[in-house]
């Protein structure tokens, strides 16, 4: 028996025909809810109901693995066509339902907190750049004999932006401790946030190998190396950590590599198991760093 789920209903078929079916009601909201549920990897109650007391069920979605044998390349699924219009479900209904489901899915994905962190840390870096620019201007202007009220607007802007930098840093730290405690403990909130920004999302960071994390932010150097040869980069944004940029050049690469491995584990813990393993990670990191330094 083949189990086929379509947007308009659920069908149980043998080799030639439909044996059993449950059609959904012709309602935009109902259908969009079913679509969203399946996209969240859930099994629909109708699907459970239709395969009850049925033996040898074959499915072609990984989502339905619990209900039957998963055979995606079985030719039946491609040959046997179930058309929506045969059951009086229109294209307009499909369009409206998918539009609604996609709108809901998009809003849900854009709500995720790491997107806010990415925007915050990018804003922070813009602020820092602007602050440096203003400082330079202030320096060169104050060399001249200038009346106070003339230079005051520039001074105001400079101090405002510095205050904003401080408060933004605190905000990022609070958010990072909440969403990514392990990463924050290993590398610090700001560098952690920059890593999330460079990998465009904490889930992507968690699925990256350590070797990629090590050179995140050094893409230009990495691709130059891949195209033209020469030396590969040893570190990307993790270079900003004092344990890396204050050690002698010869062992920086090794320490960066160690850091990257620990961050990779920490990110996985933050995203998937949600356990706090930062103490163990930090201990083993310090131990390894000592080993490298004593070599």
């Amino acid at each position: 028996m083949y189990l086929i789920t379509k947007w308009f209903g659920i069908f149980l078929c043998d080799k030639e025909s439909i044996i059993d079916k449950i059609l959904f009601s012709k309602d935009v909201k109902v259908i969009s809810k079913k679509i969203i549920k399946t996209q969240q990897n859930e099994i629909l109650t109708e699907e459970k109901k239709i395969v009850k007391n049925v033996k040898d069920v074959i499915v072609n979605e990984t989502r339905l693995k619990k209900l039957g044998e998963y055979k995606p390349s079985n030719t039946f699924f491609k040959k046997f066509k179930i058309k929506a219009d045969e059951f009086d479900f229109s294209k307009e209904l499909l369009h409206k339902a998918t539009l609604l489901a996609t709108k809901i899915n998009v809003d849900k994905k854009l709500e995720s907190e790491d997107l806010q962190i990415i925007q915050m840390v990018n804003t922070l870096d813009d602020f820092i750049q602007t602050s440096n620019l203003l400082y330079e201007r202030l320096e060169s202007w104050s060399m001249l004999p200038t009346p106070k009220e003339k230079i005051q607007p520039l001074k105001n802007a400079y101090s405002t932006i510095n205050n904003e930098i401080k408060s933004l840093e605190i905000q990022i730290e609070n958010d990072m401790v909440r969403i990514a405690p392990n990463i924050t403990n290993i590398i610090g909130p700001l560098i952690g946030a920059r890593l999330i920004s460079h990998s465009s999302g904490i889930i992507k960071l968690a699925t990256m190998p350590a070797s990629t994390i090590q050179v995140l932010g050094a893409e230009k150097a990495l691709f130059r190396y891949k195209k033209e040869g020469g030396k590969p980069p040893k570190h990307g944004v993790i270079f900003q950590h004092s344990l890396i940029n204050k050690t002698p050049k010869e062992i920086r690469g090794k320490i960066a590599r160690t850091f990257a491995t620990k961050i990779a584990i920490a990110a996985k813990a933050d995203v998937f198991t949600k356990r706090d393993i930062s103490k163990e990670l930090k201990d083993s990191l310090n131990k390894r760093v000592k080993e490298i330094k004593n070599q």
């Binding site: 789920t5 379509k6 947007w7 079913k34 679509i35 399946t38 996209q39 072609n60 979605e61 990984t62 989502r63 995606p72 390349s73 491609k78 066509k81 058309k83 294209k91 307009e92 499909l94 369009h95 998918t98 539009l99 996609t102 709108k103 899915n105 998009v106 994905k109 854009l110 691709f223 891949k226 195209k227």
Partner: protein
């Protein structure tokens, strides 16, 4: 304005156009030019923005008709999708895109065009949208990923009908930056042939897109 050999695609001098449907009167999708001709409105199809337009200008001939169903992988913000939507009348274009920000813009295009079905999913997992997508006549893919050939193959195996065809836009630099573009294209071709597909046509997208090629296959 003359009809080209592809139904629904028109040519005037060196530019190609598709007809703007009445439901989208005066609406531009990506700030393209609208041209009136004999009472009908045509949207110019910019080859710098859409790789399919580039391929058509460079001589790709596609057998598309108003009733075709198209599976479009990597729909992005709907630039090319909107032109396919113009060409199709009865058929639907199932537009898969994994970036939520891009889909947000795509949704705006879908509101007016009833034959675009938006799907927010990763094309790496074709079984996740089997609920919505039926067997289609054309599979089109424009995803700049290292494993774009594999994604294409999986989707073709699952969704392309027997006498349908597939088009893949290959970006050499995302296959492997250290390879010469030509070698990267050959690598993709050999992968496609290894899966039992026939290669019908291979077109370079110069000068509009650097290091890109369009490959057309059938089962």
């Amino acid at each position: 304005m003359k009809l080209t050999e592809i139904p629904g695609v028109f040519k005037d001098k060196n530019k190609i156009f598709t007809e703007n449907p009445k439901s989208c009167k005066g609406i531009k999708v990506y700030n393209e030019r609208l041209v009136k001709y004999k009472g009908k409105v045509f949207r110019s199809w910019n080859p710098y923005r859409s790789k399919l337009a580039t391929a058509i200008l460079n001589g790709l001939s596609i057998k598309i008709n108003p009733n075709s169903n198209v599976l479009y992988l990597g729909a992005a913000t709907g630039t090319t999708v909107s032109h396919i939507s113009d060409i199709l009348k009865e058929g639907l274009v199932y537009s898969v895109e994994s970036s939520p920000l891009a889909v947000k813009k795509l949704i705006q295009v879908c509101e007016k065009r009833k034959n675009i079905i938006p799907i927010l999913e990763d094309a790496n997992h074709p079984d996740r949208y089997s609920l919505i997508v039926p067997i289609v006549d054309i599979v089109y893919q424009d995803i700049s990923q290292r494993n774009q050939a594999e994604i294409f193959i999986e989707n073709i195996k699952r969704y392309l009908k027997k006498n349908g065809f597939g088009i893949i836009m290959v970006k050499a630099r995302s296959i492997d930056v250290s390879l010469e573009p030509k070698k990267a294209f050959d690598l993709v071709c050999s992968k496609l042939e290894g899966s039992g597909f026939k290669i019908l046509n291979k077109i370079n997208l110069n000068p509009y897109e650097k290091d890109h090629a369009a490959i057309m296959i059938s089962l």
